[in-house]
Assembly symmetry: D2
Homo-oligomer: 304 residues x 4
């Protein structure tokens, strides 16, 4: 059995949200910093305009509503590179959401479903089938963007005042990254709006583990009394029996003297109540939601 103890769907989504907000803020910063005019003429000196290079460039920047940089940057691509990277991180954070949801929507898990917008995700031959197309599009973006970012970074090594090849390579890379990032964001927005959740199935999935996901809980209680190794050994034996005999952990443990002599009977009775083994999930959720609130200015977030 691989399953770890339960968490809450609220903490899971708060984690998604916070990661997305952190990444989005970096993207906003990088985007703002990259809005800088490039105007340097053939060699970066604007020599063709004599002494008027700065004024001409500043006027152009104003016209285009771009910032005017301290120098030419035809062969210095770090601002755009930061933008590409920021897209890459956003898409990674969105891809993680899509991966989680796609795992939750598996038939055998069934804890979530992408809402089937009209005409979306249907199969041409299977009348019953609803494909998680929003997740698929997001995962496709998350599969493509990292390599595109690497392509941009590689191409930063440009020659002198005007690169040969590296600069030209950027054109399709930038448009592909921007498109894929937008596609991922729009797809996850669609998914989020239409997502349906099945809490009873969540509980059922926990129950179907015969309670062994709560073994850690018992081990923690027995360890101070029996020592960590002995406690582990007991639980390993108990969970083995659960699997083989298809019995619940609390019932197996109730028949083991080395357990019952150390634990209060109420502990075993309530052992498999998920709500009683959630640790600080609620506190984490609250903190994450607060940190993801665009209004708040917490200690970990950058100052603008």
């Amino acid at each position: 059995l691989q399953a770890a103890p339960p968490t809450t769907f609220g903490l899971k989504t708060a984690g998604w949200l916070a990661a997305m907000q952190r990444s989005r803020k970096q993207l906003n910063n990088a985007f703002r910093k990259s809005l800088v005019v490039q105007f340097g003429g053939a060699s970066g000196t604007v020599a063709a305009l004599g002494r008027h290079g700065l004024q001409a460039g500043q006027a152009l920047a104003e016209e285009l509503k771009l910032a005017y940089p301290d120098g030419p940057w035809h062969a210095h691509r770090d601002r755009l590179a930061q933008l590409m990277c920021a897209c890459g991180v956003v898409v990674g954070a969105l891809g993680k959401i899509a991966r989680d949801i796609s795992l939750l929507t598996q038939n055998e898990v069934g804890e979530a479903a992408e809402g089937g917008a009209e005409g979306r995700g249907g199969s041409s031959t299977m009348p019953h089938k609803q494909n998680p197309v929003g997740c698929a599009l997001t995962l496709a973006a998350a599969s493509r963007v990292p390599a595109l970012v690497s392509s941009f970074l590689s191409a930063m090594v440009q020659e002198h005042e005007r690169g040969l090849g590296g600069w030209q390579a950027e054109w399709s890379t930038v448009s592909n990254v921007i498109q894929a990032t937008g596609m991922a964001a729009a797809s996850i927005a669609d998914v989020a709006e239409g997502l349906t959740i099945d809490p009873s199935r969540m509980r059922l999935n926990i129950e179907s583990t015969y309670g062994v996901v709560f073994a850690e809980r018992v081990a923690m209680l027995l360890s101070p009394k029996l020592g960590r190794e002995a406690a582990h050994k007991i639980l390993a034996e108990a969970t083995r029996r659960c699997r083989e005999e298809k019995r619940r952990l609390r019932d197996v443990l109730a028949g083991m003297k080395e357990v019952t002599s150390h634990l209060d009977s109420s502990v075993l009775r309530d052992l498999e109540i998920p709500e009683q083994f959630l640790g600080v999930a609620g506190a984490f959720q609250d903190r994450l939601l607060a940190s993801a609130d665009p209004e708040r200015d917490g200690p970990i977030r950058e100052k603008e």
Copy 2:
């Protein structure tokens, strides 16, 4: 002929410095933000510690001199991803410096040379040879890091509260990126300290173009009088003759009536003086050096 009009070595190095400082600041930010403890237990709820999850985590963070995050981030890798990306941009900016220097040190260019520290860069069979090892090491890093960054970004798509494979993939990626970034930084520092520059060779290389790199200058002066197309045609013809007859541009132009009837003789006399066709190179250099000054806080730079 490919050469564009001249620039100054001062503007070139100021551009290197400014790009490096911009990238370094991002790296510092990303590094600071990534110093966050991860302490969530098996499922991110710290359930094994009951109600004490937050305090335990905060105490651990204090002990490790790390920040305490709003929630578990075992499967949310955006902070580390930003760090990897920031390394990628720094290495790209350093790689650009190495590429430029390696081009300048080519035997046929000869405008710069990596200082041969004792026992460094010598050839085992060629007594005369001095290899630009600092540039080589930096370019090697710039060749490797982008793909490693992409590897990290790909691996962000991790499953649920604890990813399978993506997380393990990070270990070697992170150490390789950090090592390569440090190697690139140290190598460029070495190169910068030992770099020797040959200004007379720079002038010679400009002169060896027969002055055709100044054709744009004449075209700009003739265009208002003859129209842009006619001016271009004249210069195209003149530079063709320079190449074929191996004569200087000012001499060829001095024999073309359509030129001399519109330009003052002093223009042709001074045509090929590089110092007179540098546009605002000096102003750009000053601005870049000021922006790269760690003390200054200009409009394009982020606020910390």
Copy 3:
């Protein structure tokens, strides 16, 4: 519901095997072709040895049991690039196996389990937990190697007779790729040896879909009689009812006159028997196993 009609575990594994064998054969070819000595001296002419360059190189090749190439290849890295690529494809094919198995071993699916070798994959705090470490290691390799391959390919653009940086970048790339490929192969071999399969769970998982995964089967039978659109509509309605009323498809369909008037009763009776809706899975499996047999020489396989 996302589930498609059933396939067999035999076809699945035969597909794994065949992809792995195809990739392995390419890897063997690429490896054999890359065993070529490089001996060209400083400029690729072996000038320091005068007229004896070929003989010296051939003797060296013999000594090292390498082939002797037609020319120097210090800056022509295509043979090694093919080897890196072949590793990349092998690791991709292995990663696909690991992904499939890791999905099958999810607690809620439970159709397969990685055999827990002694001391392998245990959790430090959860006595019941058995982590799929073999899959994790393989997926980690499959996450890392593609970018390393890209790094090698980028570095192929080497200067003249001896590249600056690109060549040095290869050293760590090659060793990382080879190590990761070996790790992936060894891990999947471990997984394959210890893999346990639960056929009853496979059947149970099919049954738990209420038979809707067989909707396509009925649609195919009704389409010739009612037209494709009408048939699809009926099945969409029927599968909706299955989900909402938690009834089996055959029972829902048995109550729909537009169905029973066109289908023999035996069809509905046997509708949900997986063995009757496997198409040519068996034939495909046989073909794949035959093609994966190292002794056989089929039409799609390369000749050696």
Copy 4:
């Protein structure tokens, strides 16, 4: 000084050609092997067609002039991966040619020039300028394709019988790789047709090193008489003087007794004749051209 002893342009181009032919052959093989129909229905069993799955697939393959595979490959992408990789290697080999040519066409080197086809590569403001656009396009492709290959390899890890996201990610990757490969091949073909070579400049560039590129030659002759270390020391001293006093190596050496007492005067007289220090360049060139001949079937080449 970085320059190594001279090679010949014939050996250089023969090396380009051979690498390109080797890569092209792999590309042809990979392309041929990837022309395989995929026809497996929803789950890879063609269950919807009952027993007729194979015949239907075979008929479809015949219709499309594709091979019929041993099994479905919707989630087994190794054949396409080999194709993408083969494109990556071809583009790398072409990029190396473009890199070399772009270095040769630098103003300060001047040994080659891209032929300016009408309306190609001209600068909008600089009448004299001829940009190496063919090399730029090839280098741009060589900068983009490696990461796209990595994207395809990453996406090989597809789920079960039909992947979610990985498959969709391929669409744009494949078209981008094919387009970029075609662009690189077409661009290098253009470059090759229009390339002009300046042999006198090649000789001039060798001469401008003051003969120090031949230092290895003298070291090889002195070593048997004086020992390797002493010989190296003498040459290091002599080449230092060449640089500082701007004198030719043969003249400097002629004034060093420890040299003249061991070398015949004819050796110094002919020391700087490039044709006498080319080693087996001619033999390598012949071998490479023969191996690149599509008709020949040598030991290193694969058999088809």
